[in-house]
Amino acid sequence: MANYSTNEFKAGLKIMLDGEPCNILENELVKPGKGQAFNRVRIRKLISGKVLEKTFKSGESVESADVMDTELDYLYTDGEFWHFMNSESFEQIAADKAAVGENVKWLVENDSCTVTLWNGAPIAITPPNFVELEIVETDPGLKGDTAGTGGKPATLSTGAVVRVPLFIQTGEVVKVDTRNGEYTGRAQK
């Protein structure tokens, strides 16, 4: 496995820490005028999702992590695995529950997702920034009440719950921002 020296540190570099692949978010040189230099980095652990600070002595080397992002289409789930396909090579990959995590609620068939592979195996799924999903359950809004401020909860076909305006009804398809889980409008038909 290749190593990176601290001089190669920059945002986006993938390194191994405590046996887990990590993404460097920020790298800062801490160097007294007289004395040892250090690299203080902010790191996201790619499996646990934890963000932490870590300091290295400058000049040390750190094991690189074989991590790559690929764009794959979501196909279906068999309940245990979520299956994705490369639309050019038709190669398929199955991600387990740990890799899909919370984002299971944003998986829409045929949507293109970012699948993060570590040593060839999926460790994280990033859905598109916007997905369109059908509302399967929401309270009927009160007639004439269009000025409601808070809206109402609506359950989507994937199980996700988002707040929608009062005039939105069960059966409608809505567009949601997956980064913050907010309703952005009715789907364009």
Binding site: L29, G35, Q36, A37, F38, E53, T55
Partner: protein
């Protein structure tokens, strides 16, 4: 698309120009002579934590080439002037340090360095405080010894603690991986100081930290009253290391020993050995007047004066677009 624009605003460059003018006026009023010394020289510092840029002169006298270093500070040349009887001198110049780039570092930066004949480090700290008040309009600074700083912020005495105690404190502060492997107490002290103390001190007014451990003396005299410490100080303000000063070492033999110690450490670290500067050693042998000197980072001073938090905002162009 090539981003050609400067990384500092014209407004900040105006603040910078005014600040430089004020510094020159400060020293003119105090009758300190402005000097210029070479930035390219045959010798460089032996400090294992400083990496010099090296280049080559080819021309009359040196058809085969002469290795030259871009100076990491003008210290050696300025001391030769002091030995030659210049009296009090100051210099505003570029300094060059390889491997240093970040929020507070650029490999090429501006330095203010000055020497006061007849001053010790206490008197020079007072003058640095005067300068900071003129330039930054800040309030009176505070003063704390290196030893007290560690006792106050980390509950450990840096001058008497054992290596294991230092390792324990470093581990408690979240640096277990470094602490387990590191057996150099000074590296651990520098880690703790830069990560745990520096961000906390000098937030409201500048703070002078003085009497650094003798093992971090650099080119300062060892204190005649306590051989565990050197007559060295640093200035911090708002999380920024601003200046480093010494009651200057004048003993040529001691200077030569320190060069040798540095080079031994360089060899242990797998770094190139730097030939000691004989011009400096000979000058010291002829006699350096009793003096104190300090180097101050001008870019960082401008950062404070203009409320910028990145060196790229106070230099017209940094290494990223030079």
């Amino acid at each position: 698309m090539t981003h050609w624009q400067p990384s500092a605003t014209v407004e900040t460059l105006e603040i910078r120009a005014k600040l430089l003018a004020n510094i020159r006026q400060f020293f003119a009023e105090r009758k300190v002579l402005e000097v210029e010394t070479p930035q390219l020289a045959q010798h460089s510092v032996t400090d294992p934590h400083l990496a010099s840029f090296r280049t080559e002169y080819v021309g009359p006298g040196h058809a085969q080439g002469l290795s030259l270093y871009l100076q990491t500070s003008p210290e050696f040349s300025m001391k030769r002037l002091l030995c030659a009887g210049s009296g009090c001198i100051y210099q505003i110049c570029k300094a060059y340090r390889n491997e240093e780039s970040g929020r507070y570092h650029n490999p090429e930066f501006s330095m203010l360095e000055w020497y006061r004949v007849g001053f010790d480090h206490q008197q020079l700290m007072q003058e640095v405080a005067d300068l900071l008040q003129v330039i930054l309009h800040c309030k009176l600074p505070t003063y704390l010894s290196y030893q007290q700083t560690f006792i106050q912020y980390l509950g450990i005495d840096p001058l008497s603690c054992s290596l294991d105690e230092l390792k324990d404190v470093a581990s408690q502060q979240g640096f277990r991986d470094i602490a387990q492997q590191e057996n150099n107490p000074d590296t651990l002290l520098q880690l703790l100081f830069s990560h745990c103390i520096e961000p906390q001190i000098g937030q409201e007014v500048p703070i002078f930290v003085f009497d650094f451990p003798a093992t971090q003396a650099a080119l300062a005299r060892i204190s005649p009253s306590d051989c565990r410490v050197a007559e060295r100080f640093e200035v911090y303000f708002k999380g920024i290391e601003l200046a480093n000063g010494f009651h200057e070492l004048a003993d040529a033999d001691e200077q030569q020993r320190r060069f040798q110690q540095d080079n031994q450490r360089r060899q242990q670290m797998g770094l190139p050995v730097i030939t000691p500067d004989n011009y400096l050693l000979e000058a010291l042998r002829s006699g350096l007047p009793d003096c104190a000197g300090v180097a101050l980072g001008i870019d960082r001073l401008v950062m404070l004066a203009s409320s910028n938090n990145n060196i790229s905002n106070v230099q017209a162009f940094t290494i990223h677009s030079a």
